[in-house]
Subunit: 441 residues, 4 copies
Amino acid sequence: MTQDFTIRTLGKCTVASPLILSKIEGDGIFDYIRDEERILYSTSLQKVQKDFENNDTPLSFERPGPKELLYFEPAKTKAAIVTCGGLCPGLNNVIRGLVTQLWKRYGVTKILGVQYGYAGLNPENQLPFIELNPDIVDDIHKTGGSMLGSSRGEQPASTIVDTLERHYINILFCVGGDGTLRGAHAIHEEIEKRGLKISIVGVPKTIDNDINFIEKSFGFESAFAEAQEIILHAHNEAKGAQNGVALIKLMGRDSGFIAANAALAVPDVNFVLIPEMDFCLDNPTTKNGFLNHLENRLRKKKHAVVVVAEGTGQYLFKNEKEIKDASGNTIHNDIGIFLKNKIKNYFSQKNMQISVKYIDPSYIIRSIPANANDSKFCAQLTHKAVHAAMAGRTDFLVGYWNSYFTLVPIPTATQKRKKIDIEEEFWWNVLESTGQAMHMK
Amino acid sequence: MTQDFTIRTLGKCTVASPLILSKIEGDGIFDYIRDEERILYSTSLQKVQKDFENNDTPLSFERPGPKELLYFEPAKTKAAIVTCGGLCPGLNNVIRGLVTQLWKRYGVTKILGVQYGYAGLNPENQLPFIELNPDIVDDIHKTGGSMLGSSRGEQPASTIVDTLERHYINILFCVGGDGTLRGAHAIHEEIEKRGLKISIVGVPKTIDNDINFIEKSFGFESAFAEAQEIILHAHNEAKGAQNGVALIKLMGRDSGFIAANAALAVPDVNFVLIPEMDFCLDNPTTKNGFLNHLENRLRKKKHAVVVVAEGTGQYLFKNEKEIKDASGNTIHNDIGIFLKNKIKNYFSQKNMQISVKYIDPSYIIRSIPANANDSKFCAQLTHKAVHAAMAGRTDFLVGYWNSYFTLVPIPTATQKRKKIDIEEEFWWNVLESTGQAMHMK
Amino acid sequence: MTQDFTIRTLGKCTVASPLILSKIEGDGIFDYIRDEERILYSTSLQKVQKDFENNDTPLSFERPGPKELLYFEPAKTKAAIVTCGGLCPGLNNVIRGLVTQLWKRYGVTKILGVQYGYAGLNPENQLPFIELNPDIVDDIHKTGGSMLGSSRGEQPASTIVDTLERHYINILFCVGGDGTLRGAHAIHEEIEKRGLKISIVGVPKTIDNDINFIEKSFGFESAFAEAQEIILHAHNEAKGAQNGVALIKLMGRDSGFIAANAALAVPDVNFVLIPEMDFCLDNPTTKNGFLNHLENRLRKKKHAVVVVAEGTGQYLFKNEKEIKDASGNTIHNDIGIFLKNKIKNYFSQKNMQISVKYIDPSYIIRSIPANANDSKFCAQLTHKAVHAAMAGRTDFLVGYWNSYFTLVPIPTATQKRKKIDIEEEFWWNVLESTGQAMHMK
Amino acid sequence: MTQDFTIRTLGKCTVASPLILSKIEGDGIFDYIRDEERILYSTSLQKVQKDFENNDTPLSFERPGPKELLYFEPAKTKAAIVTCGGLCPGLNNVIRGLVTQLWKRYGVTKILGVQYGYAGLNPENQLPFIELNPDIVDDIHKTGGSMLGSSRGEQPASTIVDTLERHYINILFCVGGDGTLRGAHAIHEEIEKRGLKISIVGVPKTIDNDINFIEKSFGFESAFAEAQEIILHAHNEAKGAQNGVALIKLMGRDSGFIAANAALAVPDVNFVLIPEMDFCLDNPTTKNGFLNHLENRLRKKKHAVVVVAEGTGQYLFKNEKEIKDASGNTIHNDIGIFLKNKIKNYFSQKNMQISVKYIDPSYIIRSIPANANDSKFCAQLTHKAVHAAMAGRTDFLVGYWNSYFTLVPIPTATQKRKKIDIEEEFWWNVLESTGQAMHMK
C-alpha cells in the first residue's frame, strides 16, 4: 500500500481571505494555518524516534484550517453539495455547516443542493437543484436524514463533469462513503483530464466507521449510542426469562466497530461477534466454541446478552441451502436469524429450556439526529472542508486522526477499508469488558 | 355476553383500617370509599337516560379505594406477587407500588416475590421466593423488565393453591394478560372449592391494550411513545430516497391499538393497517387497493410511511406456500416481510423505482422503563389493587374506564378481547390523521 | 357559579359536509355526530341516579365531531390561527393539526397564521400574516415552541374585529390560556354586537392544567414527563451527599398539578408542596411542620426529595422584607429560594450538617416538543375544533372530560381556575405515594 | 512549570499476571505493554522534528495497559474506592469498571467502597465501608450519581493513612477533581514518609473538563450533551417571542469548556461568554460591546441565544453593591442574573421591547447517567487504572491525550487548571460557529 499523503491543489493561492486572522503568536487572535503544518500519523514516541534515527520523516497528514490566501474568489464562487449512500446521523448538520461556513464566513452565496445523490447530477433524472442559503438550512440539524435525499450507485463521471461545467460549479462537496469517494476521485480525474479548475471535496460518511486513516466519522457515535440504548433494554429481556438470551444484530458489513463500541459502552454484553474474528459455533472437543461458552454463561448466570455485527461469520453459511421466499426471491443468509436458530437447536438438543429474544434494529440506529458530540464534530469538520476547498485543495477528504482534523487524499483513504485489528488494544478493551474468551475455536 | 360487574368478596370486613381517613365531607380529609360507589360504564347522556326511562340501572363498575373496614388484619397478612407473560413497561413500577403500599400504608411486611411467572409457584421448578421489602424495590422503577422475571404458560391450579396454602399466603397479585388472568380465575375457583380465604387480584398487563372493559393498561403509552420515536425517524428514511417507503411493523396480534395510536401521534404516517380491518392489496379495477393508494401517494409526494400491526391481514397468506429455513423449521408468515415483498413486486412490475426500508422494532418497544404518565398510572393502579385486596375482594382486576379506576370481575374481563371498532370514533380519528381511504377494497 | 353548557351557534347549517360519513349503525362507517349527543359531567352512578330521581337532567357537555351539515362553505371560508401566552409543548402540533384538517379534510385553503399572539391582530404592530398550508407546517410538530410566535397581553377587541373584518376572516382559532380565552370571549361579544358571522374557537392551552371543566390540556403530560426526568436525576443529588436534600421548584402559579403529577410519577419524592395546601414550616410544639417532618426523614434515611410548586405558600412571605437587586429592582419572593434558605437555617440551628441542592428548571419543561400521548391528543383536539367551527359553533373551546372530548362555552370555562381539591381522590393518591403527613400544621 | 512525566512505582514487579497475553506480534493476541512505551505530547510534526534536531526528547506520557509482571499478588490484594466532590455522569460506571476489572480480570476479591468521599476514611465520621463485588455493582451504571455518595472537603492525610493501614488496604482509587487529587498526593506523601507500599491512583473527574494534560474527562460529553438539549429547546423560547433572548447559564467556574462545546454542538447559539475572555458589556463608542452586538442581532433576526459559563466576567461585579436576602445572607453575584438584568436595562433605556428567558439548569446536567461514549470511556479508563495499580504505579492518574490513554503524575496534573486558550483553534472553531466578534471590547 502506497501511503501518499500529499494533497493536490488547483493552483497558486492569490486571493486574500476575508477572515481577518493573525500571523503573530500571543496576540489573542487565531493564526492562519501555514501550508507546512502537519499532524503525525503515529503518536508512539518509539516509532517516531526510530523514523528520525533512520532519517525518515514520520508519516503525517496536512493540517486543515483557514489560510491567508485563497484560490477561489468568494464572490465568484459557486459550490454544490451532494449526499450519497445510506443515511447517517449528522447529514443535515453537514449540509448546514457547509452552507453557513461558505455563506457567513466566506461570502459565497451561490450554493446548490443536489437531490438524491449522484443521480441528481445526471440530467437524465430530471432532478432540479435546490438553492441553499442559511435560512433554508436553519433548522435542519434537529432532524435525522438528509434534506437533499440520497441514493446509492454511480453515474458516469463525464456526465457529472458536464453538469458541473454547465452550471459553472467550482466546488463539489461529496458527502459519502467508500463508493461515493471512489466516485469523487473519478470525477476529479475527469476534471483533471479536461484541465478544469474544480475542487472535489470528500466529506467521509460511514456509519460503520470503516474508512481508512479516519479515526472516527460523523454520526458513528450517535449510531452506537442508539445501539447502546437498545442493548440496555434488551438486557431486561434477557433477565426477564429463565435462561433468557438477548441477541442483537447491529450494522457492520465488513467491520464490527458499532458492535464493539456498543459492547464497550454496555458492560451487560457478554459476547460480541464481529466480521474480523473467526470463531466456531460448537466445538464438542475443546468446549471452546461460542455455543459452549454461551451454555456456561447460562448455567452460571441464567441470562446472556449477545451482540453480533451483520457481516460476521459469513463462512458459517457455506453449507446452508438457499432459501426462497413466497415470491421466489432468495432470502439472504442473515447471521442474526442464523444464530438465533443455531442457539435454539443447540439447547433443544441439550434439553435445556431457554428463551431467545432476537432484536434487529436495522435503520433505527441511523435515521436519528446527530447527538451533541457528533453535532460538534460536524461543525468542525465542515468548517475545515470549506477552508481547504477555498484554498484550492482537491481530491481530498477531511479526516480525523489522534484528535486532530486532517486532510487525506481520496485515493489513499479508499485503498482499503479500515477494520478492527484483533491483536490491537481496542479489541482487547472489548474483551476486558465482555469477559469473553480471546478466541472461540 | 353476560356482563356481570359484581365483585366477589371473601367475607365480612371487621378490621379497622390503619389509614385514618374521614367520613365527613368538607373537612379537608379524603373520605373512605363506600361500598355502593360505582362508576358509570357509559358517559352518554342519551344512553343513561334511556336506561332510567326503562327502569334499568345503567351498567356500572365498583369504585375502588380505601375502606373503613378491612377483611385482612395487616400484621397477620402475607402477600405474594407474580408477573407473567411478555415484558411490558411499568412491571417494576407495579411491583414497587404493591410492595410500598402494602408495607408503608397498611403495615403488611410479609411479601413474597414469585420468580418467573406461574412457574415459580410450582415447586417442581425449584424457584425460591424472593422476600420483598421497600429497600429491595427502591430503585427498580428506573429499569424496564421485571425484577421477578416472567414466563408464559400455565401451571396446574391445584399445584399453585397447594403452594399458597403451604406458605400461608393470603393475597396473590397476578400481573399479566388474558392467559394469566384466566389462570388467576382458575386458581380462584380451586380456592373456593377448598373453602379457603385467599384473595386473587388481577393487575391487567397487555402491551396490546386489548383487555375488555379496560380503557388503557399500564405500559401501553410508553410502548406507543417508543413506537412514535421510531416512526418519526423512519420518516427520514422515507424522505431520504426517491419514492422511499418506510414500512414499520408494530406489535398487535389481534388488535391494532399500538399501530393506530402511534399513527395518531405521528402525523407523518400515511397508511396504518390493523387486524380489525379487511383490505385488498391490489385492485386493478377499483384502484382502491392498498398498493394502488400507495402508488398514488408516491407519484404525488415521492415518499410514504406505512405502519402495520403484526396480526394484520392473516387472510392474505392463505395461498402462500410454507417456507422452511435451513434447519427445516417453518418460517411463519410475517405480514411485515410479506408486505415488503408485495410492495417491491408491485412497483417492479410497474417499472417504478422505489426504495423500501423495512423496520421491525420487536422487543425494543416493550423492554423500556415506564414513561411519566405510565409511572403515575402504575402508582394509582397498585394502590387500588391493595385497597381492594385488603378489603377482601377477590377474583377481580383493577380496571380503568372513562378516566376512573374500577373493579372488574376477572371472568367478565376475559370473556373476549378488546378490539378497535372501525365504525367508532377512535378509528375515524386515525383516518382523519393519515388521510387514508376509509376502506381499501 | 352558573354552569351554562349550551354552545352558541352562528346560524342554521345548510352546507353538505365534504366528509362522506354515515347515519347507519353497523355499516363499518363512522356516523355523523348528531346535535343532541352529550357527554355526562359526572360518572358517578349515585349522582346521576339522584338527578333523574329529582327529575333533573344531569350536567352534560355537547359532544364534538363531524356534522352532516356545515355552516360555512369550505371553498369560501377563511380561517386564522393565533397562539398566545407562554410556550407549551404541542403548540406546533395544534397549528399543524388545524391546518391539515381544514385543508385536507374540508378543503379550506385560505388559512392565515397570526404572528406573536393577539399583537399580530393589531395593525399598529406591523406584523404581517403568514399564509399557512400543509407544506409549511409539515415538519413543525418535531420542534417545541410555536412557529407563529406568541405574546402575552391584550389588544382592544374592536381593533381585532376590525382586522378580522378587513381580512374577511370567518373563523379565528385562539390557542391560549385563561387570559387568552377571556380575550376571545370579548372578541366574540364585539362580533355579536356588530352582527357578524365569525366563529371564535378556543383551543385551551395551559401548562398548569388549570382551566375549569377540562380534565387535561395539551402539553401538560409532556411537561410533567420532563419534570419527572429532572426529579429522577435530582434523586441522585439527594443520595449523593450525607443528608442530601434535593429541592425542585416546578411551574404552577395557582395550582400544583405539575408538581403533584410529577410526584405521583416519581415514587422517590418525599414531600410535595402546592398552592392549594396550607402548611407551617416549623412547629416546635406539634412537631408537625414541614421542617420537622424533613428532619425525621433525614434522620431515618439520610436523604430527601422535595418538590414545590412556584405558587405555594405565598402567606409565608408576609413578614419578609422586600429585597432589591443591584439595579434597584425588587427581587420577588421566590418560594424555592425561600425554602432553600429556611431549610439551611433550620438545620444549621440544630447543628445538623445537610446539603441542599436547589433545582429550578423553569422554561426547560415547557419548550420541548409534545410527547407521543400529547401529540395524539393535539391531533384529536384540533380535528374537533375544526368540525365545530365549520358547523358554526362559536364562543366555545374544545374540552376533555372523563376521556371524551367536549365543547364548553368560553365564559363557563373561564369563570374560575381549576385547582386540586385536597379532599378529593387525586391528592390522596399523591399522599399515598409520597407518604407525607395529610396536614403539616 | 516543571513538566515531570515520570510515574512513581512502589517497587519491582515480580508477580506473573493472570492475564495470559502475548509478547509476539502477529499472533492475534494483544501484547503486554512494555514499560518504555510512551505517547507523544505533541502531534505536530514540526514541533517533534525540532525537538529531535535539538537532541531533546519530545515530551511524552507513559502508556498504560496490562503488564507481564505485577507488583501486587491479586489473592492478597485489598483495594478501596472513594468518590469525592460534585456529581458527574459516569461515577457509577467508574465504580463498576474498577470492581469488575479487579475481580474478574485479576481475581482481587477484597474491594471496599468508601462512603461520602474522604469523610468515609476518617473514623470520626462513623461511616462503615461497603463491601463491593460484581453483583452489587451490576446495575449501577444505569443510574447517575455515585452509589458510594460523595462529599467535598479534606481530611487529614495522616488520619486517612491510619485508616488504610488499619484495614490493610493496598490500593486506593481516588475519583475526583483538582482538590481530591491534591488530597491524594498528600496521602501518597504520608504513605511514602511511613515507608508503606500502598498505591494511590487518581481517576480524574471534572465536569468542567479543566484538569491539566487531560484532553477529556469522563462525564463531560454527557454533561454538554444535556446542555445541548436544553439549548436546543431554549432556542424555541427565543423564537417564541418578539425580540426573544434565551439566556442559558452553564457550569464552568474557571473555564468555559461546557459552554463552548455546547455552543459548537448547537449552531443556534449566537453568543457564548466564558471566563477565559474579557469583554465589555456596552461600549457606546466602538459599538463593540456584547450588548451592542446583541442589539444588532435582535434588530436583524428578532431573537438570540446567549450561553454564559458561570465563572464568566467576575470583574464586571466590582462596582456592584452587596445584596442580602431575607435571612441576612449575602446573595452572591451571579453572572446569569446579572446579565439578565443588564440586558433588560439596556433595552429598556433604548425603548426596545424584548423578552428575556433566563435558564439555569444547574445540577440537571450533572446528575444524569453517562451517555454511550462516556460509558465506553469509563470502561477503558478504569481498566487502565487497575492495570497500572496492579503493576505498582502510584501517585498517578489515568489521563487521555490525543485519543490515547496516558499516565500522568498527580503533581504534574494539578499544578494548574486547564483553560481554553482563546488564540488556539478550538476557540476559533467556536467563533466560526456562533459568528460572534472575535473580541467584544
